[in-house]
Amino acid sequence: MSYQEVPSSLRNILSDIFEITPEEVTPDLNAEKVPTWDSFRHLQAILALEGEYGVQFDPQRIPDLTSVSLIQKELEKKGASL
């Protein structure tokens, strides 16, 4: 899968948080593949996305959003303009 399927704003945020290159942020990237993606970075990413897109995630959904595509779908569901 290509990183171009991920909107650039989302790619940039996740690359900042997980300290990886934007090109590594592909839809199938998930917590298991990224060593820096631990529970605290996960929370950090969620907070950064909420701040960037002006949305609020449901706390019960937050622990499940462990891949780029799941995050992207959830943001779209919340009406974020990516």
């Binding site: 900042d16 948080i17 950090q44 950064a48 706390p59």
Partner: protein, 649 residues
């Protein structure tokens, strides 16, 4: 509004300067990026880039590394990049370690805890109401408060015990965060306000008690997070969703503010406040231009807009009352200014006597401030300039980068006090008697300078000052003052080790140790505690760890008297030689030859000390430093010394 292109440009600059290890540029760009956009991802980016050049930040900017341990009961991890970044902006490089959620008591009480083993320089204690005062919400629920007072005392007592336990195991500086006054209580706003023992009342009272406890523990600051919460958003300070789901204590939109204020609070334990505020006059101390509007035409007094300036004057007067020196730096005719202060005295909160110096004329302001620094024997990094002219401000920023510059918002003069108070440079953890006496002391300094000009022989001049040095153990003198001297003395400071109050206590109490302060007075006034030496006997050697003197008393032989005192005491405590150490810094060249001037010889010490330390020794069997004959000496254990040939009066 900043554009995204600017943002990307700043990010590129940060990346490039981090690659080139250019710490100054990296930090400047990072600050612009973080302040301009306040985006969490940017902060992560900056934290990561700055962490990569931590050593360059220390080497190039003299940033202070701090091993920092966080005792917590809440989730702080997402805040850490913000904290690290704000710390770098204030020239601290944090090496962070976070304790467990439930183990705070063990960490503070146990001699072998993770905290103790980490050997922190700084401990931040960030607990929530549940841990500090878990029973209070229930006890306060009826507002009548049977047992509330007792519970507050018990909570405060427990916290005092934890802090003292930590202090006995570690000399780290400590920050204790207070509690946020809770919102949305079951009594409602009216009940909270009117019932004697509502939860908000109880929490405010507990915060006061905690602050009082911090005052009794050395090197400990109370951090009033409630005030911060009230200023920034109140109800928005905590995001209940994120607190309940993840125990996140602060809403993410305030991570930056919270981090900045944490750094500001612990900074007071490492840095002394700036000492001089230089104010411009026209459109700064008053509204309008004196040369054009005349004394009657300038805006000041009780009516708008003059009251904006009156508020600023009152603020300056309050700063002056706790030892910040005020000076006028203005392009004006001196006679006009004197007339304005005379005819408008009832409309002005200040009179000319409240200024330590006036530089009124047509010189460049950079020149005026340089002269002031020289006359007051203060470094330029002790100065703040408040001025309305963008050109003047820019000139000072470029020519005297150590001076802090505040530009007056000319169109919104009501904002000036707010802008000034947002700056940390006058923050002080303690106010000492020496601070209160400072204006008189500096005025006496000016009189001394006049006498010196008229005296022909230096020794006659010094004798005519009638100097009296009083030596005291640092434990008998105000410890806060000794710690303050260690924190802020740069020029006459042989090793520039910023020892904490706890470490001073150790020098004073250990066998063969000395922690001596010197108070100085003369016929013009009392300069207070102006010098400090820390030394410790090791076998037959008395090793002088720290030796420093406030610049304003240099050149009167006081340093020699202090050395003589230390030497004499060392001899009594069993030493046969003095070992002096000089650690060169950018600012202390003044005292490079101090030990050689006092008969010491170079020695190639291979022992510890800083890598660029130079060591000197003096054999006390053959030579004992003598106090200058023009100085009268008083000291603790003076009976013991009165028969000694070292001190003559």
């Amino acid at each position: 509004m900043q554009t995204d292109a600017e943002r990307q440009e700043l990010r590129r600059q940060i990346k490039d300067s981090a690659c080139n290890r250019d710490a100054g540029t990296a930090i400047r760009s990072a600050r612009k990026l973080v302040d301009g956009w306040n985006k969490p991802a940017d902060v992560m980016f900056c934290a990561s880039a700055l962490a990569g050049i931590a050593d360059a930040i220390q080497d190039q900017l003299g940033a202070r590394p701090l091993r920092t341990y966080i005792v917590r009961s809440v989730t702080v991890e997402p805040i850490l990049p913000f904290l690290a970044t704000e710390a770098v902006f204030s020239h601290y490089v944090l090496d962070l370690e976070v304790g467990g959620y439930g183990s705070y008591a063990d960490e503070l009480l146990n001699t072998q805890s993770a905290l103790v083993n980490f050997k922190p320089d700084l401990v931040l204690i960030l607990l929530d109401v549940e841990e500090i005062a878990g029973r209070l919400p229930d006890l306060c629920s009826d507002g009548l408060g049977a047992g509330v007072e007792a519970e507050i005392e018990e909570c405060a007592g427990r916290m005092a015990q934890l802090l003292r336990s930590l202090r006995s195991r570690s000399s780290a500086r400590i920050l204790l965060q207070g509690l946020v006054v809770p919102d949305h209580t079951s009594l409602g706003d009216v009940g909270d306000a009117n019932l004697p023992h509502s939860l908000p009342h109880a929490i405010l009272h507990l915060n006061e008690r905690l602050a009082a406890i911090c005052r009794t523990v050395s090197d400990c600051v109370f951090f009033d997070v409630d005030r911060l919460a009230a200023r920034h958003g109140g109800a928005r300070w905590r995001d209940a969703r994120m607190f309940l789901a993840n125990r996140l204590p602060v809403s993410s939109e305030f991570f930056n503010v919270y981090s900045r204020e944490l750094v500001r609070a612990f900074s007071t334990m490492y840095r002394a406040p700036r000492k001089v505020l230089c104010t411009d006059l026209d459109n700064t101390l008053w509204g309008g231009i004196l040369g054009e509007d005349g004394a009657e035409g300038i805006a000041t007094g009780s009516a708008f807009p003059g009251n904006c300036y009156f508020t600023y004057q009152s603020y300056l007067k309050q700063l002056s009352a706790r030892g910040i020196l005020l000076a006028i730096v203005s392009k004006n005719n001196e006679a006009d200014v004197q007339e304005a202060f005379r005819v408008r005295s009832s409309d002005l909160a200040l009179n000319l006597n409240q200024f330590v110096a006036c530089k009124i004329g047509w010189n460049e302001k950079a020149k005026s401030i340089r002269e002031l620094a020289e006359e007051l024997s203060l470094g330029l990094d002790s100065f703040v300039l408040v001025d309305d002219s963008p050109q003047e401000c820019e000139q000072i920023r470029q020519q005297l980068p150590d001076v802090a510059v505040i530009q007056v918002p000319v169109e919104e003069p009501w904002k000036l006090v707010e802008i000034l108070s947002e700056q940390p440079f006058f923050d002080a953890l303690s106010v000492t008697d020496d601070d209160l006496n400072r204006l008189n002391e500096y005025k006496a300094q000016a009189q001394r300078a006049q006498l010196e000009d008229s005296a022909i022989d230096r020794n006659d001049f010094l004798a005519s000052l009638e100097i009296v040095c009083t030596f005291q153990s640092a434990l008998q003198a105000p410890l806060a003052r000794a710690a303050q001297l260690l924190a802020k003395t740069n020029q006459f400071n042989l090793t520039t080790r910023r020892r904490s109050a706890a470490e001073i206590e150790e020098f004073a109490s250990v066998e063969g140790g000395q922690a001596v302060v010197v108070r100085v007075r003369d016929r013009f006034g009392d300069a207070g505690v102006v010098g400090l030496a820390l030394a410790r006997n090791q076998g037959e050697s008395c090793v002088i760890d720290s030796f420093l003197l406030s610049c304003r008393v240099i050149g009167r032989g006081i340093e020699t008297a202090l050395l003589a005192y230390i030497g004499q005491r060392a001899l009594q405590l069993g030493a046969r030689q003095l070992v002096g150490e000089f650690v060169p810094t950018k600012k202390n060249a003044l005292c490079a030859s101090f030990y050689l001037d006092h008969g010491f010889v170079n020695c190639d010490a291979k022992n510890a000390g800083d890598s660029n330390s130079k060591f000197f020794t003096l054999d006390l069997n053959t030579s004992i430093p003598q106090s200058p004959e023009w100085i009268k000496v008083e000291g603790y254990e003076s009976n013991e010394l009165s028969g000694s040939p070292v001190f003559t009066s």
